[in-house]
């Protein structure tokens, strides 16, 4: 029992941190530009594939740094020549644009790397055990991943709170017009933030690819969940996104680990029902994929501004 709790917590936090890397970029972009970027998870996938392709030639570590930069460039280009163009037609047009972009990026990945998962694996020495607990290995790679995620969170916090650029970004979040009036180039700031957000997604892809299988469907599986994180955390709230990521990560992992059925849960409070019935036999594990969306719908109905947010979407 204890070992299940320990490992579920470790895995849940790791998954949650990955989700946070993805959603932090999205929430920055959203709160600044009002664009809910449907293609955000596709940039995550691009990160994984770039790291895989580059890693074949220049090794794992250089690729880890180079791939997010490449994704940032692509993101900036998309903002400059695509998004800015449809911006005039309103938010629905922007959403449609990013939706179409997700389609096209997914298919381009098919075109370049095929539809079969590529074998993107960390270097051999990182697959060894970092520590062994209750007879189960915890690989160095997982440990490194967690460290990168935590480091990124710290860097992001420092950037936003302690630097001049961060100040401008925070100012543009709430008073975009005013920042423009003060003579700052807001469109360029937008482009930078969009690129930066995509780079964060790319970084998540680089380190998440080996853990979650690098295949063309990876964007589609994670895309909707990233939205959930952003909405549940509160649109535009980084700290909200952080809590929501961890919440969803832990919930999903624990639900799978503790395979109690509804009948079992009812049994705890003294109601006995048929343990194999269609409804009462539903296990928490089978509820796991649904939990993010249940959360999403409930939050939007009862607390539309999210856990920590101040704005309604």
């Amino acid at each position: 029992m204890l070992e299940t709790i320990v490992f579920s917590t470790l895995n849940g936090i790791l998954y949650g941190l990955l989700l946070f890397m993805l959603s932090s970029g999205l929430t920055l972009i959203f709160s600044m530009m009002g664009v809910l970027n449907f293609a955000h998870a596709s940039f995550y996938m691009l990160g994984a594939y770039f790291a895989y392709a580059l890693g074949l030639h220049i090794g794992f570590w250089p690729a880890l740094f180079l791939a997010p930069c490449l994704v940032a460039v692509i993101g900036a280009v998309v903002e400059r020549y695509g998004l800015r163009r449809v911006h005039a037609s309103g938010h629905v047009a922007e959403l449609l644009f990013t939706f179409g972009l997700a389609y096209v990026i997914d298919e381009l990945v098919h075109l370049f790397w095929g539809s079969i998962p590529v074998s993107y694996v960390p270097p051999d020495y990182m697959q060894n055990a970092l520590f062994t607990l209750f007879g189960t290995d915890y690989s160095i790679y997982r440990g490194v991943t967690m460290m990168i995620a935590v480091f990124m969170f710290a860097a992001l916090w420092f950037l936003l709170k302690k630097t001049r650029v961060g100040m401008m970004i925070r100012a543009a979040l709430t008073h975009g017009d005013m920042v423009g009036h003060l003579g700052h180039n807001v469109p360029r700031l937008f482009m930078g933030v969009f690129g930066f957000g995509c780079a964060l997604a790319g970084l998540a892809g680089v380190i998440g690819g080996p853990l979650l299988n690098t295949e063309p469907g990876m964007a589609q599986t994670l895309g909707p969940i990233v939205f959930v994180v952003v909405v549940v955390g509160g649109m535009g709230s980084l700290i909200g996104a952080f809590y929501a990521s961890l919440l969803i990560g832990l919930l999903q992992t624990f639900f799978v680990a503790f395979d109690a059925s509804i009948a079992d849960l009812l049994g705890v409070i003294g109601i006995s029902v048929d343990p194999y019935g269609e409804v009462t036999g539903i296990t928490l594990a089978s509820l796991a994929p649904m939990t993010p969306f249940i959360l999403l719908v409930l939050i939007l109905i009862f607390r539309p501004c999210g856990l920590m947010g101040e704005l309604e979407p």
């Binding site: 163009r85 389609y103 096209v104 075109l111 370049f112 909707p224 089978s286 719908v297």
Partner: protein, 408 residues
């Protein structure tokens, strides 16, 4: 003559529907049946987005649940017909789309109210959540949704109407023709009702409709129900066509299809989604025979429409029609024609690029063979052609841009 004028589009469509099977070959019927389903589905989607201003990412939930309602009814007909008694024994398969309609509308009625408080991004997110929730939820109730396998049935049961046994796709065509005509007529009539007009007003300015005494939420809710019902009707048509319903029919992919069809066709014009459904379905089913990159092409078309032609393909048709009415066509067509030539040059360059990349990554693609191209990715000739096509397109566009502007 002028008396017939308002009816002309309907009479023409009726004639097309009657003549279509005679004109096209036997195996095309299967594709046409799918197009009929998609027309109703895309139009029902446009009731939300185009007319009501509500961007939904979960529309397939109503399509799929309507489909499930219809297929379970079909099984009930089968069982009752075997026993020879009961309500379902007298219910013809022909009317199953009505069951689908009831199913879709009922679900929309039950879940819709909290959704319709806001339009825009909030609505998009909550429908996304609903869609994913329903799609993943189906796995938990295998007795209703059939798990991975889905639910299958047999459409050759119960009372036969109009002598249609529905054995062959050709029989099913007449069923589809009836329902697509009826559904399009109904949805067009809906746009003429006060509610339809109000939904346009809510889309354009919700605050003002609130002031004049129509709470936008109520209007949205009613439109949501009507649209859910029509999506369910399309689902009912699909249940009869495929005789199987699987959980995939409720997924985000299916919702995305409705969105793509409606947007490519044109959101602002009633018949836009019809054009979109025809084009996208044909692209999906015909292109996939020739190329593995078919989805990429559909995606690029969608992206191009969103970026460069927000009023969609039907918007283009509408421009031509208006120019004709105002007798401006003679003045405008040279500019348009050259513009079209430029676009074609770009499309060719794009297709060639995709095929070349395909060749490098995976070996020959069937599309290149079908076009009779002997591609050699190593030769500068192929890539040179791409550059030349791009340049030609750009040149044509720039040269005639002034002409188009002058005659706009």
């Amino acid at each position: 003559m002028s008396v017939f004028r308002p009816f002309a589009p309907w009479l023409i469509s009726l004639a097309v529907l009657l003549l279509l099977p005679a004109v096209t070959g036997g195996s095309a019927v299967s594709v046409i049946n799918v197009i009929a389903i998609h027309i109703v589905f895309a139009l029902s989607y446009n009731m939300l987005l185009g007319q009501g201003g509500m961007l939904s990412f979960g529309h397939a939930a109503f399509f799929g649940l309507g489909s499930y309602a219809a297929i379970h009814a079909m099984n009930a007909i089968g069982d009752a017909a075997y026993a020879g008694e009961g309500f379902w024994a007298h219910f013809p398969v022909f009317l199953l789309p009505l069951v689908g309609f009831a199913g879709g509308a009922l679900v929309a009625l039950v879940v819709g109210w909290p959704f319709c408080r806001r339009a825009g991004t909030a609505f998009a997110m909550i429908t996304l959540g609903l869609g994913e929730l329903v799609a993943t939820g189906t796995q938990m109730f295998p007795s209703v949704f059939g798990g991975e396998t889905g639910v299958f049935s047999n459409r050759m049961v119960g009372p036969v109407w109009f002598g249609l046994e529905l054995a062959q796709p050709a029989d099913v065509y007449w069923f589809m023709a009836f329902w697509v005509f009826a559904a399009v007529l109904a949805m067009w009539a809906f746009t003429r009702t006060p509610l339809g007009r109000m939904s346009n007003a809510v889309r354009d300015n919700p605050d003002r409709t609130q002031f004049i005494g129509y709470p936008p939420r109520n209007v949205r809710f009613l439109v949501f129900i009507a649209s859910g019902g029509m999506a369910g009707l399309a689902g009912g048509m699909a249940a009869v066509n495929y005789e199987i319903v699987t959980p995939e029919s409720l997924s985000l992919v299916a919702s995305g299809l409705a969105l793509v069809m409606a947007a490519v066709g044109g959101l602002g014009i009633f018949y836009g989604p019809i054009v979109g459904a025809v084009v996208v379905t044909l692209m999906n089913s015909l292109l996939s025979d020739f190329t593995d990159a078919s989805v990429l092409y559909v995606g690029i078309v969608f992206l191009a429409v969103v970026m460069f032609a927000p009023s969609g393909l039907a918007g283009g048709l509408e421009q031509i029609r208006q120019a004709w009415h105002r007798a401006e066509l003679a003045r405008k067509w040279p500019g348009w024609l050259v513009g079209a030539a430029a676009v074609i040059a770009w499309i060719l360059a794009l297709v060639l690029t995709v095929e070349l990349v395909y060749l490098i990554r995976h070996g020959d693609d069937k599309l290149a063979q079908a076009l009779g191209l002997e591609l050699n990715a190593a030769s500068p000739l192929a890539w040179g052609t791409v550059v030349i096509l791009l340049a030609v397109g750009y040149g044509l566009w720039r040269v005639t841009a002034k002409h188009r502007e002058a005659n706009a």
